[in-house]
């Protein structure tokens, strides 16, 4: 059975969404933690709930979302957008057999896309917000390059994927630090310098840890107006967390623990979406060119993904509701 045949060029029959798409960016500090697995399977779970979803593979250089979707090598890629002047991004979407789940691939774009110029990045962002869909999921590259950080900050919601291993946690925190530093790039030079020192240096002298959170508290104490400006900036960072490849029961508590630590250390809300278990079937599905989501609908992971999708939809609905209720 092959339920994910490519149906390129077929226009979607689902009516265009009334709102601009809700953009979720999925990133991980470290590669190999299942980031693409999370983004594709969340996409399938959202589509299963009847939402129109477009995945955008921005993991330049190692784009493989199409493989997770069971699609062959894509015919069109994102680079067409940069090469051709009059192209509608919606024409670049390739649909799976589900006509409410599409993909814009970045595969084969390595040379050009890995080194995006600033204006190219802006052009892609502008176009992404014009995708006709309820949800757009950006699959970002691992690491902390400016490309990754900027798309992460551009999205409505950022989703951080980690696995219960020290290296993954270390890189996830590094990503959060880079995000803070990037988000506050508009600050005066000397303030930025202090913040970067706080974020990167280890102080061996004082037993009291100087963290970004305690820095904000000091600032609140000494110069409340300035602290408020900074908090206003930081409010735009909406971070969510999924712990993937959980093997031991104790690791299922890692997500909540990381949320507590982020609050204490960075004064940042890390919204816990949940955790997914390690499952050898993921690899099997890939080898069989099948989608895990559709092959194992009864698995714990697919159940969790469905619950997360429902939460994402509810969050979006409440956002739309609060928008329509504002007096015009």
């Amino acid at each position: 059975m092959n339920n994910t045949k490519l149906s390129h060029g077929k226009p979607s029959t689902i009516p265009a969404a009334k709102h601009p798409p809700q953009i979720w960016a999925v990133a991980s500090g470290k590669g190999g933690v299942g980031k693409s697995f999370v983004s594709t399977n969340l996409g399938m779970a959202l589509a299963q709930q009847g939402k129109k979803v477009v995945l955008v593979d921005l993991d330049f250089g190692s784009a493989n979302i199409h493989t997770f979707l069971g699609l062959a090598n894509p015919k069109t890629t994102l680079s067409s957008l940069l090469n051709q002047s009059s192209i509608n991004i919606n024409d670049l979407v390739e649909y799976t057999t589900k006509d409410n789940l599409g993909l814009i691939s970045g595969a084969g774009d390595h040379l050009q896309m890995a080194n995006l110029a600033h204006f190219q990045k802006l052009k892609i962002m502008r176009n992404i917000s014009q995708i006709e869909a309820d949800f757009v999921i950006l699959d970002l590259g691992a690491g902390t390059s400016f490309n990754t950080l900027d798309f992460f900050l551009y999205a409505d919601q950022a989703l951080l994927t980690v696995i219960p291993e020290p290296t993954s946690i270390e890189n996830a925190y590094r990503l959060i630090k880079s995000l803070l530093s990037r988000q506050l790039k508009g600050l005066p030079e000397n303030t930025k310098e202090i913040i970067n020192r706080i974020l990167t240096e280890k102080q061996h002298k004082a037993p009291e840890t100087q963290t970004f959170a305690s820095f904000l508290m000091d600032l609140q104490f000494q110069c409340p107006e300035y602290a408020n400006i900074m908090r206003e900036h930081l409010k735009n960072i909406r971070l969510n967390l999924i712990v993937n490849q959980v093997r031991e029961p104790a690791d299922s508590k890692l997500a909540v623990a990381m949320a507590v630590v982020s609050q204490k250390h960075f004064d940042i809300d890390l919204n816990v979406l949940g955790h997914l278990y390690h499952d050898n079937q993921v690899t099997h599905s890939l080898r069989e060119k099948q989608t895990y989501y559709h092959q194992y609908p009864q698995s714990k992971n697919v159940t969790s993904l469905n619950r997360i999708a429902v939460e994402m939809i509810a969050e979006l609905a409440s956002k739309h509701q609060s928008q329509t209720h504002t007096p015009s």
Binding site: F221, M258, H265
Partner: protein
């Protein structure tokens, strides 16, 4: 510019709990943080040095030792006046909302035992204790039949509105009982009364 932190976290902030947290909340928060900041914990990996983690664990331990013990917590609260910022808003709410307490007149209060060394208490400290007990002035007024104006005078130490000393002491005792304090001790320790009573035993 020095990188040393000038702001000292309160024990409540260390445990990430609110000022009206119950002892059960304190124990719960402590248990969770102890796990998160234990050696070998994944959640803190790379963020802290060994020394910093050790220091954090000590802070958590200190906060727990103080806040889980009613005596120590009372002393600590009186010392740091935790509700300074939050109080005006809460008071407004308590005036606007219909009094719920009347539906359950026998709501249990946490009795606070004061240490023998306890010599002085300000109106502000009394107010903080009342807040920490989650009792509104209005509910005390309806329970004791002491007018709201006098109850407010107790907390604000506004001597101009104090009634005659005999009545005032009686009101103060009723107020103290309502917030779970020993009435006799409070009358002796209440600062505005001390200055008015020159016959107060001298040290």
């Amino acid at each position: 510019m020095s990188l040393e932190s000038k702001y000292k976290q309160t024990y409540y902030e260390v445990l990430s709990i609110s000022h009206d947290a119950t002892t059960a909340d304190v124990i719960d928060a402590y248990g969770k943080l102890k796990l998160i900041f234990q050696p070998e914990s994944l959640a803190t990996y790379s963020l802290y040095s060994e020394d910093e983690l050790k220091h954090l664990r000590e802070q958590i331990e200190d906060a727990y030792q103080t806040l889980s013990d009613k005596h120590k917590r009372f002393e600590y609260d009186a010392e740091v006046n935790p509700n300074q910022i939050a109080s005006p808003k809460e008071e407004l709410e308590s005036i606007d909302k219909p009094e719920k307490i009347q539906l359950q007149p026998s709501k249990p209060i946490n009795k606070i035992t004061m240490p023998d060394s306890f010599k002085q208490i300000s109106g502000k400290a009394l107010k903080d204790i009342r807040k920490s007990q989650n009792i509104s002035l209005k509910s005390i007024a309806s329970q004791t039949k002491v007018s709201l104006e006098y109850l407010e005078a107790i907390e604000s130490e506004n001597k101009a509105t104090f009634p005659a000393p005999f009545y005032f002491k009686s009101f103060l005792k009723q107020y103290a009982t309502a917030i779970g304090l020993d009435p006799e001790l409070v009358v002796k320790a209440y600062i505005p009364l001390q200055s008015e009573n020159p016959e107060q035993p001298k040290k």
